[in-house]
Symmetry: C2
Subunit: 468 residues, 2 copies
């Protein structure tokens, strides 16, 4: 391995090959589910340096774990515990290479932090709409490698939908210059979308050209009490029909999830504590704030008439809007403060969510008595964060030890019955790689394996992740 380390040092400079000291920032995953041990952490500063690193590893037959902000939730960006894998950190490649206002595109390096990218877009008068909890530390390379979702997917799609072109380093250490800013390009297979979401197992993303959007004239937020999940879906339909693409957010929250926010963050105001469900809606308008408000109020009046909303507030100003979003976004922290829980990031067709929730809730109550459900959803995307908490007063750690596999199987089997996905936006990583074959079509898995063998015949790119 000395030869390899020397080759890596020649490629990126000795200061950027880390082997000693505390490497937990690179070896420990975000949720602290697994702690690995790296042969080395390598921090290249350019695409050519990445290519040299990959070639050196390929020659030595050593595997690579690409890593961005290391905020993933599926243990896909940390090394295993063998001490034989090289962590390839893209964090030093963080430049905005170009903004093209007439083409509505921005070209950035993989290590650019999502929030920096959002800010660079805004400073040029545009919106880059990808938005998620970890945006202060996750990188766009990681967002693309995992096809990240978040709160604006309803309108703007996932990370894949926001990407027009990629620059990647292949498993052989070649550079594919695919940084096209084109909205139409039918010259062969869609390598871009294949790389996006492949979690670093097919190539290393080093840069991307992404879509920008005009900034809306006004963005308003409302919070509505809805009597049931059926009513939430009815409200979604009404909002889509009346607001069209103006509807940029639609988050449903179960009252138990909100009650945890009230309990653990008593300083936050969380409206409508007697409604079984609440919905946060966002409306972006290209005309004016007055127009947005009139549209929003007409929608909510129609929803009250139809009975799918029982009460609602529209934020009067930015501070109120931020307070409502803050209440929504505090759910994950509130549930952590309540204790460890079993998380599921699942999706089912929107039309089937009410039945899924009713039936799965009943099965859980029957098979795991006392378990409490923290359910909040990007409902407009059919994406539920369907988390199961220990019974009140119980020991959360013991609950997980005794029930995690049982609860996972129950929930995932239900997801499969309802035509859904066991990973809506968090990816597979190593956390779900062994579970995937139980729920994915064997024909699809075989195609995936064939593609992996074709593009990474040595198996050096993030082995053991996604497919095994």
């Amino acid at each position: 391995m000395t030869d390899l380390v020397e080759a890596l040092a020649r490629a990126v400079g000795p200061a950027h090959v880390l082997q000693a000291g505390d490497l937990s920032a690179w070896e420990q995953d975000w949720r602290k589910r697994a702690r690995g041990k790296a042969l080395a952490v390598v921090r290249p500063a350019s695409t050519e340096e990445v290519a040299q690193v990959v070639r050196a590893c390929a020659q030595a037959g050593v595997s690579l774990v690409p890593q961005g902000g290391n905020t993933g939730l599926s243990v896909g960006s940390t090394p295993d515990d063998s001490g034989t894998q090289v962590v390839l950190s893209l964090q030093r490649m963080n430049r905005v290479r170009a903004i093209d206002p007439d083409n509505l595109t921005i070209t950035v390096e993989a290590g650019c932090v999502l929030q920096s990218l959002q800010e660079a877009a805004r400073e040029s008068g545009f919106l880059f709409p990808l938005s998620l909890a970890a945006e202060g530390s996750c990188t766009i390379g990681g967002n693309l490698a995992t096809n990240a979702g978040g709160t604006q997917v309803l309108r703007y799609g996932n990370a894949r939908d926001l990407c027009l072109g990629l620059e990647v380093v292949t498993a052989a250490g070649q550079v594919w210059e695919g940084l096209s800013g084109l909205r139409k390009d039918n010259t062969g297979y869609d390598l871009r979308d294949l790389m996006v979401g492949s979690e670093g197992t097919l190539a290393v993303i080093t840069a991307a050209t992404l879509k920008l959007y005009p900034l809306p004239a006004a963005t308003l937020t409302a919070w509505a009490a809805v009597p049931s999940m059926e009513a939430a879906v009815e409200l979604l339909n009404l909002a889509r029909a009346r607001l069209g693409a103006g509807l940029t957010g639609f988050e449903a929250m179960g009252q138990f999830a909100l009650s945890l926010v009230r309990r653990h963050m008593p300083q936050l105001r969380v409206p409508f504590e007697h409604s079984p469900w609440c919905v946060l809606l966002e409306n972006a308008d290209h005309e004016s704030e007055d127009h947005a408000r009139a549209q929003f109020e007409a929608l909510l009046a129609a929803a009250l008439d139809a009975g799918c909303v029982t009460d609602a507030v529209v934020a009067e100003n930015l501070a109120q809007a931020q307070a409502l979003w803050h209440a929504r976004e505090s759910i994950p922290l509130a549930q952590s403060l309540e204790g460890l829980n079993i998380k599921h990031d699942i999706s089912v067709p929107i039309s089937r969510i009410p039945a899924f929730c009713a039936e799965t809730g009943e099965r859980l109550a029957r098979e795991v008595p006392g378990a409490r459900l923290v359910n909040f959803a990007h409902l407009g995307d059919g994406n539920l964060h369907y988390n199961v908490q220990a019974p009140a007063g119980g020991d959360p750690a013991r609950f997980l030890r005794e029930h995690e596999p049982q609860v996972n199987t129950l929930v995932f089997d239900q997801v499969q019955r309802f035509g859904g996905s066991i990973s809506a936006e968090h990816g597979i990583g190593s956390l779900k790689a062994a579970t995937l074959p139980r729920y994915k079509s064997p024909v699809a898995l075989e195609m995936m394996r064939a593609i992996k063998r074709a593009l990474d015949p040595q198996g050096i790119l993030n082995p053991g992740r996604v497919i095994t």
Copy 2:
């Protein structure tokens, strides 16, 4: 081959294995660029029958040419002239399998004609936005196989962007049931997007689950005179900022292209004959026709003030709107009536279109004196139909014979210089398969070939198309 034909007859019934009579509907491409000879035309009626056909061909080592409406423009769906290829026509698989209003999805078989699909959506109160000239005879399977574009891409994306799930038959004759209606699904590689646009070379698409959208309350059309391509781009920016996603169409047309419509279809009214460029804009509104009109008029007033529009009309009613669209859509026929021409379906970043047009026009004038340019563009997508017509009074057939390779090379070299694509929406087929390697990254081509070998190791699916 007798064994194979018998196996095919067992699979689909002898009435649906055609070998005799006039097979030109399947053997001749739409633009009559190439006439092939099929071993047989096979017309399965179900996914299982498709799978049996593929397995029979795989066993016999005979290659298959999947075909939908056979309206492609790149000779990708007709057999070669060897008489050894089986044409697999999907036209009998034309059912709408399901519409899910709450999930905003429709599931259809590959042979469903695009217009039938649009109508099925509309009858259920929804919009399926893919729209293109051949919609009366092309099929959704062909649209997906070629990642079709058309006139609504600016707002709704290409065919790929409208597809949530696929059912395909692999080269081994296995069925992948990937008909997910999910907006978020991160369980492995994006096989769906890989199949879409692969022109039948990686698998046979048999059905798809597609996105629907709420019908807008009103759709208005305007026609504006603009003084230059720079002004057209400025108008596009203004329209995107003011209308947001309401801007559903933005077509730019050179005055020479419009003059051909006036000459060959004198019954059509084509506004603004003294402007070098005209733009057709479409605005879809979820509020009301009054609101759409007010928005449109405010936009055009601002554009007149800014000088990027010199005159404009907004259609007063549906008939006027249809007449304006009809003028735009008559350009291809008008140029045919003027005589054969050299067509290019290209894209470049929108910001570079003015310079591309100026520079390429100058080079053409210098190197091919007298050549006349029929230029019309889906400008909002950066997609130019950049067609070169023989000099006035010249012999078009002789012009093509003498100048087609020279003109293609000139235009494609310019496209490459400007970071564009030599096939924006029409695909590669066999027409451009030999040209592609000159303009596509060798690294990308090698990845494409590796994927082709991995998913179709026998090379029986549409060989010679896309990659060679």
